[in-house]
């Protein structure tokens, strides 16, 4: 009785807390009704220790529900739902007589606690809600704990300690959906390639290990040499720094070729780009078709409609051929030569004189880089004003941006329109998860030159450091430089592995949860309709599997493995009688008592049973065990009909 009263007090307090917490959802008169109901309950508890009759509670409930229904339009659906929920809880409490009637109330309270978070996200209120949660857990304990158990602070502390890491992990790792009412926050620094390329900007990116984007290919991953992800075109050169031409950022997008499939081989893929706060996205070669959320610029670059502030996924289809030269103007744009770098210009002109044909000229440049002592390094020496001259003829040590920049200038000097392309090269292929992960460190720069009406691609880095293109950046660098790239915690294999797993997990989350939109849904339903039969088999299989698992769990729960088989067999058949067996009494002793009470035939049967039981259990006699099984099977019904009278003992 005392326990019951304590439970009542806890619940009354809890519901009062709900009333206050959900205040915003209630109009004044609704709150007053609830307060009155709670007060009634309090009064009946304290002064009479009874509860209202079920009839009275039903009438009150119906009246209040009707009143709430009339108020529905004013209150809105959400508030109405909250009111009804609280009404149900309060009325249940009002009519409560037996404890077992109250079991579902605990669950309703848990739900109400969750609802409080709809209206409040304030930290202090959250503390109140958590207190309410603890109060409800206490009532849960009072209601369901077996008699005689008592709550020890040490046990609570231990349980809390055990659950704390899990709780923290849930809090830290549980993926969160961005709330739909989120207001765009202050500008976040953008990541990835910027609109200028100076010697050194890529080196900085290379030290960034974070993910740039992921790619899923429809028909297998292409060779690594083909994976040049174009992101930006740098066409203005001031002698030291390459910049995007302001004209490019205009909004004249190429019309997407609808329907017409090009003759060339195409590559279909889906890119999931990380948030970069930039509009520029990534594409292979010459994209001609895309999903609606991105645009393809005439230059073959892909642009988002607005800066990418959260993970974005888009579909692309690329022709594996260079982008077409758009206009004479575009060619002229890429022939401009800034002042300075005289040596380079002279060298370019000289090369042109030696190799009038464009392909021959390209080969000459590549072999120049290959044959002369040029080095690929992440830490090139600092360059002065005529950076290209210094690089080409002095330091001869540089990174992809140095080579690309020098090559583009050489080509321009030779009268061939050329530009630097910024983007990413390669990526880590994860065959199990089926996606290619491209990180910021894969940032790369190469050259495009106009020939035969198209912007041909040429990567001078491939001539200097072919490993960079064929395998990875790490292979192209010396051990020391690699060391520079990895922070200490990345060298820890375990942490690294964990990070990888988290990245994969994140991938699945973004694909299956964040990326699951209307289109996917429609596709899925279409597929379900088409493959109903296959799905039916699959579903049946899963159902059977689930049932098996449940059955197994149930079976394991039921049959404790600590009991020997002979005991299990007997106790199953005689379960009704065994209620009378004192826990400490051996089963055979009990059966002997039972046999005493029986008439001839049954007594003989029981004695035989005892013999084979004892032999099976204590003598580990397999023959006796099978005999026992046989006896039990044969006389199951007789045994079930036996009656044990406790008085006779």
């Amino acid at each position: 009785m005392l326990k019951q009263k304590r439970l009542m007090v806890v619940w009354l307090g809890l519901q009062l807390a709900f009333l206050l917490l959900l205040q915003e959802a209630f109009t004044l008169w609704v709150s007053l009704i609830f307060a009155a109901l709670l007060l009634t309950r309090f009064a009946t508890l304290v002064y009479a220790n009874t509860s209202l009759s079920l009839k009275a509670v039903n009438v009150i409930g119906a009246c209040v529900a009707v009143a709430l229904l009339f108020n529905l339009k004013q209150a809105g659906v959400l508030n109405f739902m909250l009111q009804i929920l609280l009404l149900a809880a309060v009325l249940r409490l009002l009519a409560l007589r037996q404890l077992f009637e109250a079991r579902q109330l605990v669950w309703v309270h848990y739900f109400l606690i969750g609802c409080c978070f709809i209206l409040h996200q304030n930290m202090l209120v959250a503390l109140v809600i958590i207190t309410a949660l603890f109060a409800n857990m206490y009532s849960h304990y009072l209601l369901f704990a077996p008699a005689g158990s008592n709550l020890k602070p040490a046990n609570i502390a231990r349980a809390t300690l055990i659950i704390l890491p899990l709780w923290l992990a849930m809090f830290l790792l549980f993926p969160r959906l961005p709330p739909f009412w989120q207001i765009p926050t202050a500008k976040v620094a953008s990541t990835g390639l910027s609109d200028t390329l100076d010697p050194g900007s890529i080196e900085q990116l290379v030290q960034d290990d974070s993910l740039a984007f992921r790619v899923e290919f429809e028909n297998g991953v292409p060779e690594r040499q083909l994976l040049y992800w174009r992101a930006r075109l740098y066409e203005d050169f001031d002698g030291r720094r390459w910049q995007e031409n302001p004209l490019r950022s205009g909004s004249n997008y190429r019309n997407v070729h609808q329907g017409a499939t090009p003759a060339e081989a195409t590559l279909d893929y889906r890119i999931i780009a990380e948030a970069s706060q930039q509009r520029s996205l990534f594409a292979l070669a010459n994209p001609w078709q895309s999903s609606a959320n991105v645009n393809i610029a005439p230059s073959g670059l892909v642009l988002a409609t607005k800066p990418v502030s959260q993970r974005t996924s888009y579909q692309l289809s690329s022709q594996l051929q260079p982008v077409a030269v758009l206009s004479e103007q575009e060619q002229q744009l890429n022939l401009r030569l800034p002042a300075g770098n005289e040596q380079t210009l002279a060298f370019g002109r000289q090369l042109k004189a030696q190799h009038p044909q464009v392909p021959a000229l390209i080969d000459a440049i590549a072999s120049h880089f290959r044959q002369q002592p040029y080095f690929y390094s992440l830490t090139p020496p600092l360059l002065g004003a005529n950076s290209v001259d210094q690089f080409l003829f002095d330091s001869r040590t540089g990174f992809c941006s140095h080579y690309a920049s020098a090559t583009a200038l050489l080509l321009r000097a030779a009268g061939i329109p050329a530009r630097v392309v910024g983007g990413y090269q390669g990526g880590d292929w994860h065959p199990e998860q089926g996606y290619l992960a491209v990180r910021q460190r894969e940032a790369h720069a190469w050259v495009e030159y106009a020939d035969q009406g198209r912007w041909q691609q040429f990567d001078p880095t491939a001539a200097v450091a072919p490993q960079r293109i064929l395998s990875s950046l790490d292979d192209a660098l010396s051990a020391e430089q690699r060391q520079l790239l990895t922070s200490p915690w990345q060298r820890n294999a375990l942490l690294n592995n964990l990070r990888q797993q988290l990245m994969h997990l994140d991938y699945y989350w973004s694909v299956w949860v964040l990326g699951f939109n209307d289109d996917n849904q429609r596709d899925l339903w279409q597929q379900v309709r088409q493959n109903l039969q296959r799905f039916a088999y699959g579903l049946a299989f899963i159902t059977v599997l689930a049932l098996l698992v449940v059955a197994l769990l149930w079976w394991r729960r039921r049959e404790r493995p600590t009991q020997p088989q002979a005991y299990r067999l007997l106790s199953k058949t005689l379960s009704a009688m065994l209620r009378h067996k004192p826990a400490h009494q051996p089963l055979s002793a009990f059966l002997r008592m039972l046999a005493e009470q029986q008439q001839n035939e049954q007594r003989q049967l029981l004695l035989a049973l005892i013999t084979s039981y004892e032999l099976a259990l204590f003598n580990d006699d397999a023959a006796a065990l099978s005999a026992l099984k046989q006896q039990l099977k044969q006389h199951r019904n007789t045994l079930r009909r036996l009656h044990f009278s406790a008085q006779n003992t």
């Binding site: 020997p564 400490h584 051996p586 004892e614 204590f618 580990d620």
Partner: protein, 302 residues
């Protein structure tokens, strides 16, 4: 051989009337190669039991009345200088017998007690650096008087542990005592007891005891029982020696019942006599409260 043992049991029952249970337990203790501690008032038939056992099994029997001036040498014997042969020769003490009745063991000094208990455990004695084996079988029946504690040295728990069983014969019931009075020829009956089983046969029976089968399930039950006594404040914990003693005596009990396996009931039968004096050394032999508590609180799913 078992039938002969039952004959022994029958004839013992004719000498000590109305105590079949205690007689069976005493035989059980003998079979299990343990020693017996009888706690009884004087005149309850302790000596008779010991004597009858020795007679019917054809074992040599000695009785030592323990007093506070009894010295270890009085018990185990000593080297005595023989003036005629001019050398020491060993005078064996009463401990060199197959059945030794150590009467009122708690009257002796701890030193003498220790000498006896060492002999019980090692089954040999060392005198002047010479180790002499005791006869086999070697069965000690010690008695102690529960009431008159003045001038006694109660056995400490470590030494109580050496006794496999602690029993009390207790008063005979009306019918048995009536019978006893009617045929007041107890002593003559004792002398009439003939040897039913010789020493070799007894040894063979003792060697059969460990071969009695104990299933894993039974061992688990026994361990649950023993474990239950540990980590408790109301009783002393049962040692592994105690659990060995329980198992061995349960096996002997099963053998006496002519079974080749131990059942849970066997364990429950012997448990109070093996456990009680280890759980609470200060308890009396009639009392088996703590062992009953353990038996009640250990679920038996066998």
């Amino acid at each position: 051989m078992l039938t002969q043992l039952h004959h022994v049991e029958q004839s013992l029952n004719q000498v000590i009337l109305g105590k079949p249970r205690q007689i069976r337990l005493a035989l059980c203790c003998l079979l299990a190669e343990g020693h017996l501690l009888l706690e009884d008032l004087p005149g309850m038939g302790k000596t008779t039991l010991a004597h009858a056992l020795a007679n019917s099994l054809g074992l040599s029997y000695r009785r030592v009345q323990f007093t506070n001036d009894l010295l270890p040498g009085d018990l185990v014997g000593m080297n005595i200088y023989d003036t005629r042969s001019q050398q020491f020769h060993f005078q064996a003490g009463p401990v060199f017998s197959q059945v030794l009745l150590a009467d009122e063991i708690n009257r002796a000094s701890p030193k003498t007690q220790s000498a006896l208990l060492e002999a019980m455990e090692e089954k040999q004695v060392s005198i002047d650096g010479e180790t002499r084996p005791l006869p086999k079988p070697f069965f000690v029946i010690a008695t102690q008087n529960p009431l008159f504690h003045a001038g006694t040295s109660p056995l400490p728990e470590s030494q109580l542990d050496r006794f496999m069983f602690r029993l009390s014969l207790g008063f005979p019931d009306h019918q048995a005592e009536h019978q006893l009075l009617k045929h007041d020829n107890n002593q003559s009956r004792l002398t009439l007891l003939t040897e039913q089983l010789n020493t070799e046969q007894l040894r063979a029976l003792q060697q059969q005891v460990p071969q009695v089968h104990a299933s894993d399930a039974l061992l688990d039950y026994l361990l649950a029982l023993v474990n239950n006594s540990r980590h408790r404040s109301d009783m002393l914990p049962l040692s592994p020696r105690a659990s060995k003693a329980i198992l061995r005596s349960a096996k002997a009990f099963a053998l006496l019942e002519e079974r080749s396996y131990v059942s849970a009931a066997d364990v429950q039968q012997v448990f109070p006599y093996v456990a009680e004096h280890r759980l609470d050394p200060a308890s009396s032999a009639q009392d088996s409260r703590l062992s009953q508590v353990l038996l009640q609180q250990t679920p038996c799913q066998l």
